[in-house]
Amino acid sequence: MTDLTKLTISAARDALRKGETTAAELTEACLTAIEGAGALNAFVHHTPEIARAQAAAADTRIKAGDAPDMCGIPLGIKDLFCTKGVPSQAASRILEGFKPEYESTVTTRLFEAGSVMLGKLNMDEFAMGSSNETSTYGDAVNPWKIDAPLTPGGSSGGSAAAVAADLCLAATGTDTGGSIRQPAAFTGITGLKPTYGRVSRWGIVAFASSLDQAGPMTKDVRDAAIMLGAMAGHDPLDSTSADIPVPDFEAMLTGDIRGKKIGIPREYRMDGMPDEIESLWTQGQEMLRDAGAEMVDISLPHTKYALPAYYVIAPAEASSNLARYDGVRFGHRAKLAAGDGITEMYEKTRAEGFGAEVQRRVMVGTYVLSAGFYDAYYNRARKVRALIKRDFDEVFAKGVDAILTPATPSAAFALGQKFDDPVQMYLNDVFTVTVNLAGLPGIAVPTGVDKQGLPLGLQLIGRPWEEGDLLNTAYSLERAAQFVAKPGKWW
């Protein structure tokens, strides 16, 4: 077989079971592709020995007829996931040299299902960013290119670049405000953020614990369904992980969405939204209508307050979560001057170890939680969050099955593009952040290209725990959109 790295998970699974290829061949093909793709800076820690051993074990299982869907599938793992004995740095200098003594629940599940880890993937530092430019490893680069190098988005920028460039069959991502869906849209791949609690957070470096959720980043919707099935499920080690059954998501992909009600929220029509995004959104509505769904105008009145609420809650939780990086138990410790005490050790270690954006967010979080401001900022933001969730609850109570929105306010932008202030960068998440605040599942599906030929995505938002239904609607959209464009290889 040629172009093994271009296979989807489902095609590779079928080929493996038929004996048309082996996990070892798939893995070697990916390792070769990765070696030739240094310019993308997607893989930042390479684990070929682990990959080859896992592939050999997978081939044994496949021969024995004991092969789950993910068996023998070569994956990239976001650097945020702790992987035993392998650097897991959250793209931060402060975790330089850290090799976990344990394995995250998600990677444990994927490995038990026979998946192969090719290496760790670039990302924004502690998942704080929308362009992969806050990484200690340097920028990951979008395989899609016009003239100047483009961002693959963030924070799961390495995951998106690796999947789009066919360096691996799929990758893990995490999403706190849009970190799976925005990079997926920027690179023309599929990215699913599951319902909060669907996938265990244990062993994933924490950013904002009430918002963080891991999910699959894949070449199509079917693969997202397959990979989610392998990642999801109750975990006693994560107290917020839901003890509810995981359905066969792939079996729910019928493509039949007749009679489904799709909500079109009027508040997502932003001032100054590019025409191309607007027309893509209209086309998406037409595609779903042609497939037999009914479009319903809806209102989510608190949408405009989602980003400001997020930029209180996420930094507040981050300031608390990142308090553990103190130079004592793991990672970087600053060199101390004579007479320096423990406070100087903390302060110097954290100044050296955290990049500018992480420092900014930790300090903003510290401020909004400090005495005298807790009610005015943090508690008010949590009340607004309750109202944002209520908006969605009311729409779903009226019988809406899914909500269609743009995934991002633009196509991928140039790396190094200067923004006037940090808030400009935050606006990237304007369409995705509501979903995290409300704990809902959301998926970005590549739907078209802009006039420069860059991919654009639409987002579908589903009811809590109904990823199967959401994936089926996404599958229908994918079939109608027939997005097949691939980046030309320049790297």
């Binding site: 003594e101 793991f330 410790r333 423990i342 100044a351 300090m363 933001a381 109202l387 969730k389 605040l437």
Partner: protein, 95 residues
């Protein structure tokens, strides 16, 4: 809301992040921009709204209060920048 340099220095201290004197004006400016953005929340009528504690209505699982893990001193210390005689080592805390 405008954040002055004194407030920026106090927040940096609370967060245990060393910020050089020369960097305080820029930091205060960034805080002011971000907090100005957040100020929009004051437009929302939140009377009678309970602050969200859990995004999914669920009762946290209970488990028996028993020891399930332990005896892993070497693993716990394996990543420490400075470990001696089975302990994490830090600069002198008590005179």
């Amino acid at each position: 809301m405008s954040i002055d340099e004194g407030t920026a220095a106090r927040v940096a201290k609370l967060a245990r992040i060393r910020v050089e004197e020369a960097d305080l004006p820029a930091l205060a400016q960034e805080f002011s921009t971000i907090l100005g953005f957040i100020e929009q929340l004051n437009e929302v009528d939140v009377d009678g709204v309970e602050p969200m504690t859990s995004v999914t209505p669920m009762r946290l699982k209970r488990r028996d209060d028993v020891v399930t893990d332990g005896n892993q001193q070497a693993a716990v210390l394996a990543n420490a920048p400075d470990a001696r005689e089975g302990f994490f080592a830090v600069p002198k805390v008590v005179e």
